[in-house]
Subunit: 210 residues, 2 copies
DNA sequence: CAATGTGAAGAAATTCACAGCA
DNA sequence: TGCTGTGAATTTCTTCACATTG
C-alpha cells in the first residue's frame, strides 16, 4: 500500500532500482525528464511517471525531476537509508565472489558473517568476514542483528539452512539455488537462478533456428 | 508464436525452466499432476496447465502428465537439445565462480573460451578454459561457433564488449552488469543484477518497519 | 511551452469454473 | 472419478492522451 492505498505492482520495485542506478551516475544536468530516464533504461516515459506516482509527486511540470531529490526519494522508498547486516551462507566459488562484491556495501548491505560446513573454511576470515560453522547460525544471526541471508549453498541443503536462518530471525533471503523455499509468509524471498536466465536465452535463440 | 499462432508471454519461459527442474528431480512416480507441480513450484495449477498449452497438449485427463515425456518436451521447447558454446567475458571473482559452475554443462551450455584484459590472466587456463585477450573476441568467437556470451565485466565496459561480441556473431548475451545494452534487436539479452534483487528485499522488509 | 500526473482505455496475464476425456 | 484443456471472467499492468502546472 502507498499514499493512495493503491497496491504497488511488485514489478515496479526492480524498475525503481534501475532508475536509481541511472540517477546515481547522471552528471549531465541537475534535472532529468521521464523521457531522458526512458532513454537510459529502456522503459517507456509513461511507465516511469506512473511508477513514481505510486509513491508521491516528485516532478515539476515543464521541468522534469530534480536529480538529487529523486535519488534521495527512491533511496528512501527502497529502504536504502537503513544499513542492513547480511549473512552469507555457503562459501563456495560463488559465495567467495560475493564476499568480494563491492556493490553491496555501496548500497548499505554489509556482509558481517559467513557460514559453511567445510572445516577447512570455518574459523578463517575471507575478505575480512569471519566464517562460522552452519551450526552457529542461530546465535551469530541474533547477536549481529542480521536481517538478510544470502544463500549460495547446494540446492539440496538450501531449504534446511533457510529454515534455520528464518528461525534465527532473518527477515529476507536471497537464494542462488533454484527452487521455492517453504518459509513463513513473513520471510521475504528473492531468487537468482543463473540457469533459468541462460535457458531463456536458449529458448529465444533456438526459436530463431526453427 | 506457437501451435495456435498465439503469442507466448515471455514470463512463461522461466516458469518452464522451473517445471523442468522439478521434473528432473522427480522420482516419486512416473506421473505428475499440475497440482503436484504446483506444490513443488509455488505456481498455481491453472497457470501451469495454461503455460503448457501454449506449446501443445501433454497431459492425459484424469491422470496428469507422464514425467519423462513432459521433461523431454520442455527440454525441446527450451532449446536444450542443442549444445551451446558459450564465452565468458571478464574473469574476475564472479567470472571465475561461473567457470566452475556445474549447472551449465549439465544443461548443454559449455564455456569454451574466456576473455579478460588483465595480462596476468591472458594465456592461462582456468578450469580448463583458455583465457584470451579481449582483442581476440572476433576470431575466437567465430572459430568456436560461440552463440552465447556471459558478461562479468565492470558496468562501464559492458556495452563495448557486448558490441564486439555481437559483431562477432553472438546471438545472446547474459549480462551480470546492470544496465540496458544497446544491441541489434536480433541479439537477445538477459540480465542478472544482484543489487536489484537485494534491493527488492530491502524494500519489502523496510515497509514492514514503517 | 514543455513535461508532469492521471483518468480512461487497452493489452496482457492469471484465475475461475467446468465440459469432456481416459 | 480425477484431472486436463480452455473459453470466459477477472485482475494486473501498460499505454494513451490530455488537462494542468510552473
Amino acid at each position: 500500500m502507498n499514499k493512495n492505498n493503491k497496491k504497488i505492482p511488485s514489478i515496479v520495485i526492480p524498475r525503481l532500482s534501475r532508475y536509481y542506478r541511472v540517477l546515481y551516475e547522471y552528471v549531465q544536468d541537475s534535472w532529468i525528464s521521464s523521457k531522458q530516464l526512458s532513454g537510459n533504461t529502456g522503459f517507456s516515459a509513461a511507465q516511469i511517471r506512473r511508477d513514481l506516482t505510486y509513491f508521491g509527486q516528485f516532478g515539476i511540470p515543464g521541468r522534469g525531476y530534480k536529480v538529487d531529490d529523486l535519488k534521495k526519494s527512491i533511496k528512501n522508498i527502497l529502504g536504502l537509508d537503513n544499513k542492513w547486516n547480511v549473512a552469507l551462507i555457503g562459501v563456495g566459488n560463488l559465495g567467495r565472489a560475493l564476499l568480494g562484491y563491492r556493490g553491496f556495501i555501496e548500497q548499505g548491505f554489509e556482509i558481517v558473517a559467513a557460514f559453511d560446513v567445510d572445516k577447512s573454511k570455518v574459523g578463517r576470515r575471507i575478505n575480512k568476514v569471519q566464517v562460522y560453522d552452519i551450526s552457529e547460525i542461530p546465535h551469530v544471526i541474533k547477536e549481529n542483528g542480521i536481517s538478510i541471508a544470502i544463500l549460495t549453498v547446494p540446492e539440496n541443503v538450501a531449504q534446511l539452512v533457510a529454515e534455520k536462518a528464518a528461525a534465527a530471525g532473518v527477515k529476507a533471503v536471497l537464494n542462488f539455488a533454484s527452487g521455492h523455499l517453504k518459509l513463513p509468509e513473513t520471510v521475504k524471498q528473492m531468487h537468482i537462478d543463473i540457469t533459468i536466465e541462460i535457458e531463456r536465452l536458449s529458448f529465444l535463440i533456438s526459436r530463431d533456428l526453427k
